[in-house]
């Protein structure tokens, strides 16, 4: 009898890294190093729950949207956000299987403050223009980070992102359409966008995360690059955002609320006023202006109708 060769973890890891280097896709049932699984869970659960929490600030404007077609457009957009949350939580749940955790646990992690959501969704919305800025610039920022991961080594995430990015194109245009109407509207409407831009600018810069972990003490960008989940750094993303959106913001007659911002021809980079990264740390610890209110909204509705989930458990065969 030939002795059976037991595959060691080192060999599995070497084989895994070879597959990733060769551009192969890793699937949910495949062997993967713990570090890869944990990195994915952190990234995708945060992405997913941010979609779910991100539905709330825009949802504030759903009933108030100022025409029948705007009401329809924003309803459909917020529905998509919930839909993106569904896709991403499904991907996360399959990764959580070895730990025996499920969607209910993710919700509890959110309520306990262990599962964070994006800084932008902790902020207050004040006028209809905020709904426009969110669609135009927050979704624009999200498109930049998400398209970079369309070729992610983890197949289920890449496939979810394919669906998400296709819809983001609609979202960006939905936002542009709101902004365009205001930009071409009355003086009050124009002022409304400028105020909203001023309100959201710092949050937009923060959206991409700190340039390095020295800024805030932690960053997962190194691991995600190592495992070919993404290829660009936080700062790369921010620079792309400036490239794409600064000319458009200026073209509409708006002012960037940062007098120092300029494009450096030599380095081909934008120099700009750093946002307050201490404030960023506070915000993502659920100490932002609307963090607790939105968590409370989510938690109340989740718990108040828990009986529905209990009832349907009785129908499981």
């Amino acid at each position: 009898m030939t002795p059976i060769h037991t595959v060691t973890d080192d060999e599995l890891l070497a084989n895994f890294m070879e597959r990733i280097e060769a551009g192969e896709k890793i699937e949910a049932d495949d062997w993967m190093p713990e570090e890869y699984r944990v990195t994915l869970i952190k990234l995708i659960s945060m992405h997913g729950i941010s979609e779910i929490m991100g539905a709330l600030p825009e949802k504030e404007w759903v009933p108030r949207a100022p025409s029948l077609s705007r009401k329809l457009g924003i309803m459909s957009k917020v529905q998509d956000e919930m839909g993106h949350g569904q896709l991403l939580l499904r991907v996360t749940e399959d990764l959580l299987l070895p730990y025996g955790k499920n969607r209910g646990d993710l919700m509890q992690d959110l309520f306990k403050g262990d599962l964070k959501f994006h800084n932008v969704f902790h902020m207050e919305t004040k006028t209809w223009a905020d709904a426009g800025i969110i669609g135009w610039l927050v979704d624009g920022a999200a498109i930049i980070t998400q398209t970079n991961m369309l070729k992610a080594s983890y197949g289920p995430y890449a496939r979810a992102l394919q669906r998400i990015c296709a819809e983001e194109v609609f979202h960006a245009q939905h936002g542009e359409s709101i902004i365009m109407a205001l930009a071409e509207g009355t003086d009050e409407q124009k002022a409304m966008i400028q105020e909203a831009l001023n309100r959201w600018w710092e949050s937009l810069l923060m959206f991409f995360g700190p340039a390095s972990k020295e800024t805030t003490g932690s960053s997962k960008q190194d691991l995600t690059i190592k495992y070919k989940i993404r290829t660009k750094t936080n700062e790369d993303f921010r620079q792309i955002f400036f490239d794409k959106y600064i000319p458009r913001i200026l073209a509409l007659g708006l002012t960037i609320p940062d007098p120092t911002i300029r494009f450096d021809e030599e380095s081909r980079l934008w120099t700009y006023q750093q946002p307050d990264w201490e404030e960023f740390k506070k915000i993502i610890k659920n100490k932002g202006p609307r963090s607790q209110a939105r968590l409370n909204l989510r938690k109340t509705s989740y718990e108040y109708n828990a009986w529905v989930r209990d009832a349907l458990s009785a129908t499981v065969t």
Partner: protein, 115 residues
């Protein structure tokens, strides 16, 4: 360990765009039973495309391949005898007999009207 009782099951959703197209896997969703899965499927995954039919499959009923089994899928690229390209010389032969070769395009056109 699971902090909450899980009552949801994973359902795989398949759909076809038109009556003539083949079923395609879309995504998975959580539902307590297949009737619930069915009423949620289209609006979760096919909000912007035509749908002619939907299948819902409980994931536990899907027989999957493991990594070892996936090795059985590879094969050599030496099976010209299964393909028309293994018989490419026939075109020249028929030309010699002053006849056109009956290639795939020609044969598949026979289902239409007689010309």
């Amino acid at each position: 360990m699971a902090g909450e009782k899980t009552f949801y099951q994973e359902y795989e959703v398949f759909s076809k765009r038109t009556q003539n197209s083949a079923f395609q896997h879309q995504f998975s969703l959580l539902a307590p039973n297949e009737d619930m899965a069915l009423i949620m499927a289209q609006e979760n995954f096919m909000r912007r495309e035509p749908v002619a039919d939907i299948w819902i499959v409980n994931r536990r009923d899907v027989r999957k391949m493991d990594r070892e089994e996936k090795k059985t899928l590879a094969r050599l690229d030496n099976k010209e005898y299964r393909l028309t390209k293994g018989y490419g010389y026939l075109k020249k032969k028929w030309r010699h007999y002053e006849q056109q070769v009956l290639d795939e395009k020609e044969i598949l056109s026979w289902g239409g009207d007689r010309k």
